[in-house]
């Protein structure tokens, strides 16, 4: 049988290493955010709270069954999505460790892309916009087709990735780069003031850095769901590097 070499070994390694590193960055990052939330409102006259995340925690604890007796509703978000409130020093230290690992891992990833030639598959193509619409309709219609038990064929593309994948896999490394750049901008706003200025100054760079985090979250959810939906071969290709779908013309890979 024939298999297709899909991902270079360095790409595979750095891909999986991103999981614990990004998790560490996000958990510690939100603990850092707690110390001085970017998004604040006027202090509540009763509680003195000014943090929207605390409001969300209060809202969740008031409405979600079983959480009515949660001891610290304003801390709910930070207790569940970060290392916890009130631990800035520990969070910063872990954030630096993960940040340096993230940068090193990014270099490994880029090296793997260059050596394996995989970077070519990530570049946007002229036909992407049109084909992305096709893919969008495919995903939009898939649940209904499934309910109606009608066949709903996957649009055919002769490339490694379909246009939506390519847009995602092209932008996520860029987002990673921007996360690092905005991170340096807010970490060293004096020595690297020009970098902060590039993002509109120190305060705006903080906002960039904050939203880039959510971009990763936004990417990871459909990424994981679609890989699981796509099946074992796709998941295996990121572990073993081989895909056995080479002889199956229904796949995104062309046979020839």
């Amino acid at each position: 049988m024939q298999v297709v070499r899909k991902h270079h070994v360095l790409v595979r390694w750095s891909h999986w290493l991103n999981v614990p590193i990004l998790l560490g960055l996000i958990l510690s990052g939100l603990s850092i955010y707690w110390a001085s939330p970017v998004y604040q409102h006027k202090p509540d006259p009763q509680t003195g709270n000014f943090d929207y995340f605390a409001d969300i925690g209060v809202w969740i604890c008031a409405r979600v069954p079983g959480l009515h007796h949660y001891s610290d509703p304003p801390d709910w978000i930070y207790n569940h999505m970060s290392l916890g409130p009130g631990m800035l020093g520990a969070a910063l230290r872990l954030h630096w460790l993960c940040a340096y690992l993230f940068m090193l891992n990014g270099l490994v990833y880029v090296t793997g892309l260059v050596i394996g030639g995989g970077w070519r598959s990530l570049l946007p193509r002229r036909t992407d916009l049109r084909d992305a619409v096709k893919m969008f309709w495919y995903y939009a219609g898939l649940p209904f087709a499934w309910l109606a038990r009608r066949s709903w064929p996957h649009p055919h593309f002769s490339r490694k990735y379909n246009p939506l994948q390519r847009i995602a896999y092209f932008s996520v490394p860029i987002a990673g780069f921007l996360s690092v750049a905005t991170g340096w901008a807010i970490h060293k706003p004096m020595q690297l003031y020009w970098l902060a200025a590039l993002f509109g100054g120190y305060n705006k760079a903080r906002i960039w850095h904050f939203w880039l985090l959510w971009l990763f979250v936004l990417f990871v959810i459909p990424h994981v769901v679609l890989v699981l939906a796509d099946g074992w071969d796709t998941l295996r290709s990121m572990i073993v590097g081989w895909s056995a779908k080479s002889s199956n013309s229904e796949d995104v890979h062309h046979v020839d």
Binding site: V4, R5, A90, R120, S158, V240, W242
Partner: protein
């Protein structure tokens, strides 16, 4: 090898329809692709691509297919280091199977004129053009064995990462999650995390330059600055008796300066700079004061002094009890021209909230180094203790 038998049975069947398809179907494909270009150029070159065994007759008809061929043939079932189960007989099998395809391809290939070819050449050699995926012939057992091996390794790695990453979380987080019940971390954890912070401090030190000025702002850009005293704000009764002590001087003496001494003996400097807190907030504020560098010149430190301990004895904890505040500052940072002993804020003498009568203002450091109500400055050879470094923060804090 028992694998060979399997491959011989499976492969020609798999490879054969695929190649036939490429020669007949691809011209209809509307996606601009390497494969498509290939078959547009000529059917026979697609046969060549699939089969490195017979390049001669193709090259006779297509002059352009010379230098770039190695890239294209990467898609062909060439033997590879990774694939343990490749057969040498493979190529022979395929050759035998492909002959009809080639004849068919030759018919298709005769139609495009020679004039069309130069247009297509750049596309097929395009540097950014996506390459065909590299295909490897492999026996099913080999794939299974390799999958099993790599997945087991992956699982072991995932478990190791879970254990290592989990144990690096702060003790308080692990306590809250119920993972551990004791406070004591394993020794390697502190070492690794402190090492990362040390690296970060070294980077900060490398970025620092004594002569580089931080950006300054205009008065219209000034933003409010809150009183961020970590504990209670001290009672202003300390101000009338306030003196600044200088120790560790080259003269061996201890000098005590009143606010009057400072204001009359040193030149005042104004600056509007950004003040950045470790918590993340910042404020643009207008400060006036004397340069730390001028004090260093007027009262030189002992030779080989590299560090400064800056203290405030009036600092209070949140309950109003005395909680002396002390930070370490490197002498190059103190010599940076924007490092002030600030006496004025927004043109007015400092209030208690902002550290009357004199505070350290060091824009190249986080706010926590900007000691309010400085009472003593000591020059040292060794790095002194630091209030926030003892509480788990960096001791350098360069920004």
């Amino acid at each position: 090898m028992s694998i060979e038998g399997d491959n011989a049975a499976v492969d020609p069947e798999n490879a054969q329809p695929a190649n036939a398809q490429s020669a007949t179907e691809t011209p209809a494909d509307d996606v601009l692709d390497l494969k498509e270009t290939e078959s547009l150029t000529s059917g026979s070159s697609s046969a060549q691509q699939a089969d490195p065994g017979q390049p001669d007759e193709v090259e006779a008809t297509h002059a352009e297919s010379g230098p770039d061929e190695p890239q294209l043939t990467a898609a062909a079932p060439l033997p590879s280091v990774e694939a343990d189960g490749i057969m040498d007989e493979q190529t022979e099998q395929n050759e035998a199977g492909r002959e009809p395809v080639e004849r068919e391809a030759a018919l298709v290939g005769s139609s495009p004129s020679v004039a069309d070819e130069p247009e297509i050449v750049p596309k097929r050699t395009g540097f950014f053009q996506e390459r065909l995926p590299e295909r490897v012939d492999v026996a099913p057992q080999v794939l299974r064995r390799r999958t099993r091996r790599e997945v087991l390794l992956f699982g072991a790695g995932a478990l190791a990462a879970l254990a290592a990453g989990g144990s690096l979380l702060p003790q308080a987080t692990l306590n809250r999650l119920g993972v551990i019940h004791e406070k004591k971390p394993w020794p390697g954890k502190e070492w690794l995390l402190n090492r990362a912070r040390r690296v970060d401090d070294d980077v900060a030190e490398a970025l620092f330059s004594q002569n580089r000025l931080v950006p300054t702002y205009t008065k219209s850009q000034i933003t409010p600055l809150k009183n961020n005293y970590n504990g209670a704000t001290p009672d202003p009764s300390y101000i009338p008796e306030w003196h600044l002590q200088l120790r560790g001087l080259a003269s061996g003496l201890s000098v005590s300066l009143s606010i009057r001494n400072l204001l009359t003996r040193f030149q005042m400097h104004d600056q509007i700079t950004r003040f950045v807190c470790v918590e993340g907030w910042s404020a643009i504020a207008w400060w006036s004061g004397l340069r730390f560098d001028d004090v260093l010149r007027a009262y030189p430190p002992v030779s080989q002094a590299r560090w400064i301990r800056v203290e405030s004895s009036v600092n209070l904890d949140p309950w109003g009890n005395p909680d002396p505040y002390f930070v370490s500052l490197d002498i190059p940072t103190a010599r940076q021209p924007q490092t002030l002993l600030a006496t004025h804020f927004n043109g007015q003498p400092l209030t208690v909230d902002h550290g009357a009568p004199v505070r350290l203002l060091v824009p190249v450091k986080l706010g926590l180094k900007n000691v309010k109500a400085v009472t003593r400055i000591t020059y040292l050879k060794e790095q002194p203790k630091d209030y926030w470094a003892e509480r788990g923060y960096s001791c350098y804090d360069g920004i």
